[in-house]
Symmetry: C2
Subunit: 420 residues, 2 copies
């Protein structure tokens, strides 16, 4: 296929998505939810075909020498397909994000102005290996009345093709227009580059994956991008704090799932509590198998911790490693977080209300905790049903993004001949 | 000055803005409003100095052969400075956009999640000749708790420098940190290019001006940009419609201020009403001195209209010119608008409720009118006090943007030791 042919096909896909999105914008919320439920049934009903397609991806991946952990992320089985289905059903059960009246005012001249939530239109999703993102993302996009153009990882190509064909058929069988769920039918990078230039058709692109992917999308895309960068999450142990509670929360934040973005990466400790707190912490961390890297003051209470170097303060370890630093007060803790953090999730552990207020108002992150684990930054835990990602941007959506965050708004103005 | 020196100075300005924004985020709304009122007083008190500085800009502009219309936009006098002051006072009087509780929920595990509006941080404003934007933009940014880095047009450099020094002094005198209002102290393009790469410090850039400026900013900036593109606004005269009302609204939308974005550019007319409507329209347009450009069907009722060509359908004339087309129904009108429009402001004139509903739900524009002039798309008319622009983006803010739209949000999560 020549580059010109590919470009033409990408544009055809985008145009079909725009046409579908215009029809979809007028489809009521009940029909959209029914579509998601039918998609869930059809995924379960089609599990044999999906597992067969997935097996082709998996054997190609194994043959190419992919790591066992990556092969596991790629592999689908009955249980995982049921998980995808129940994800769709939980999104279906959420309140309709479209048509919410966000504001309503009547002006002195009699004009009635209603600000109402509307779908974006067409959303592009660019993601890596896990094929469950194909159904999760499609479900959330359709729930919010958007058409979606998907481009998953090449290693999951056969799985994604099978899943998309099932989702597309279910959409049409639910009375939705054809083309609400489409994927790019090629695995090479050139097609993504073409897709990322179609700002005339695609309203928003969401990349999900490693930092490399996100930087590629951000630098190539001509349409707005909602970014989900890394999570360098902090907890600050304040001067007055229930040490048992703090240790329990830290163990959870660091160890319950170290490979995720909302896991703890750096611990800050108030100088006053350090002598009592650090020995308790070290005991728990040794038991959990966590490698500690500390500054000099931390290491004066924990001689077996590794000396931390400058790069530790901005490291997203995604592993059983924790950086620790002793600070003089809450101000220094906030400065550290705003300097080295990633604006994702950070928390304070303590009972000094003035310090909690200072910390929560000053830390410039999507989610700022007091006395809870950073692991709660998640659409499901926030009660959104599901999430399409955790935005580390400040524009439009910040933190966990559900279907509500995949809407824009418009103003409907009603008059009886007003002029200005 | 070497490029490296300039880059260092730009970065210093940005860092100072970040430091100021962190302090400003903790300043209460009363203090921010008091600051705006003091700024207003100081502008009026400093009007002699401003007018002197402005006179230097004006004589340089006249010497360079600037058009009389442009010189007029550049010129300040007592009345215009009073206008800038009253703009600041009206923003000061608005409800505080910061700290609004947008959502609040308690999860089954007892976690309390509060979604609260917060300032963005640092906003960059890039604009052209009118010096009143300097105070308008500064006022709205500070009202929303943001520091601002300004880069106005080079032809207004002396005026802007004087205004910024007055605003900065008033901010400090109100107890705000130094650096909440700064401007780039150079007039060349190289400094703007450096500024647009400082995504580490500037959270959002807003360009205001012609399409060329906006495209330059969008293609250069590494931080998010809120765009304010052109306005190709439409009115659709439906099959059943009070013809007198329609003509009055059209005259207002086209003629009350033809050079602005929310002025009418294309008129669509239902085939059924065209024979009765077009002659009335032509009479009013002749009286108002408007040049009509029509398709063949329109010209069959208006022989003296100029034949329209394809480029007329996407033209933003900003002048006393109006394109007109006869369409078979509301569907064709909506298709035309979604194809050729600029997603700014469009309206339907008529009394068929089904057509109004179809039009308002399907037209993909920031503001969709029924029976009113498109000229109302304006922050003041919407009751926002003032606006920083009209967004033609769908992400984050759409339509008129006031101080509320210059906030982001964060989640404050409160627990008592919850783990996941």
């Amino acid at each position: 296929m020549t580059p010109a042919d590919m470009e033409r096909e990408v544009i055809d896909i985008c145009r079909k998505a725009v046409a579908a999105s215009r029809e979809l914008a007028a489809v009521d919320g009940k029909t959209r939810s029914a579509c998601l439920n039918l998609m869930a049934d059809c995924l379960e009903g089609g599990s044999t075909a999906i597992i067969e397609a997935n097996a082709r991806d998996v054997s190609a991946a194994v043959a190419s020498g992919m790591s066992a952990a990556m092969v596991d992320r790629l592999t689908l089985n009955e249980a995982r397909i049921s998980g995808m289905a129940s994800g769709l059903r939980s999104v279906a059960a959420q309140t309709d994000p479209v048509g919410r009246v966000l504001e309503k005012r009547v002006r002195p001249n009699g004009l009635e102005i209603v600000k109402i939530s509307v779908p974006f239109g067409v959303i592009g999703m660019i993601y890596e290996s896990r094929p469950n993102v194909t159904s999760d993302a499609s479900g959330i996009c359709i729930k919010a009345g958007n058409a979606v153009v998907l481009r998953g990882g090449s290693e999951a190509f056969e799985s994604n093709k099978c899943i998309v064909s099932i989702l597309d058929r279910a959409a049409v069988d639910s009375g939705l227009p054809a083309g609400v769920v489409q994927m790019l039918p090629w695995t090479d990078r050139a097609a993504v580059a073409v897709m990322l230039k179609q700002d005339r058709y695609i309203d928003l692109v969401i990349p999900r994956g490693g930092e490399g992917l996100i930087r590629m999308v951000t630098s190539t895309a001509t349409m707005p991008v909602l970014k989900h960068y890394k999570g360098v999450c902090h907890l600050f142990v304040d001067h007055s704090c229930d040490i048992g509670m703090a240790v329990k929360v830290i163990v959870n934040a660091k160890c319950s799932r170290p490979g995720v973005r909302n896991a703890l990466e750096t611990l800050l400790i108030h100088r006053v509590i350090a002598p009592r707190f650090v020995p308790e912490l070290m005991k728990a961390m040794r038991e959990a198998g966590v490698e500690m890297r500390g500054d000099d003051e931390f290491r004066s209470f924990a001689p077996d911790a590794v000396p931390a170097v400058e790069s530790d303060w901005s490291a997203e370890y995604l592993d059983l490693v924790l950086a620790a630093r002793v600070v003089p007060d809450v101000r220094a803790a906030v400065d550290h977080i705003n300097t080295y953090g990633s604006r994702h999730s950070d928390g304070i552990l303590g009972d000094d209300e003035a310090d909690i207020a200072y910390f929560q108002s000053r830390v410039d992150s999507s989610t700022v905790y007091a006395n809870a684990s950073t692991r709660f930054t998640d659409g499901g835990e926030f009660g959104m049903g599901a999430e399409i990602g955790i935005s580390t941007d400040k524009l439009h959506a910040r933190g966990p993004m559900g279907a509500d965050e995949l809407t824009s708004y418009k103003y409907l103005v009603r008059g009886n001949g007003q002029i200005r």
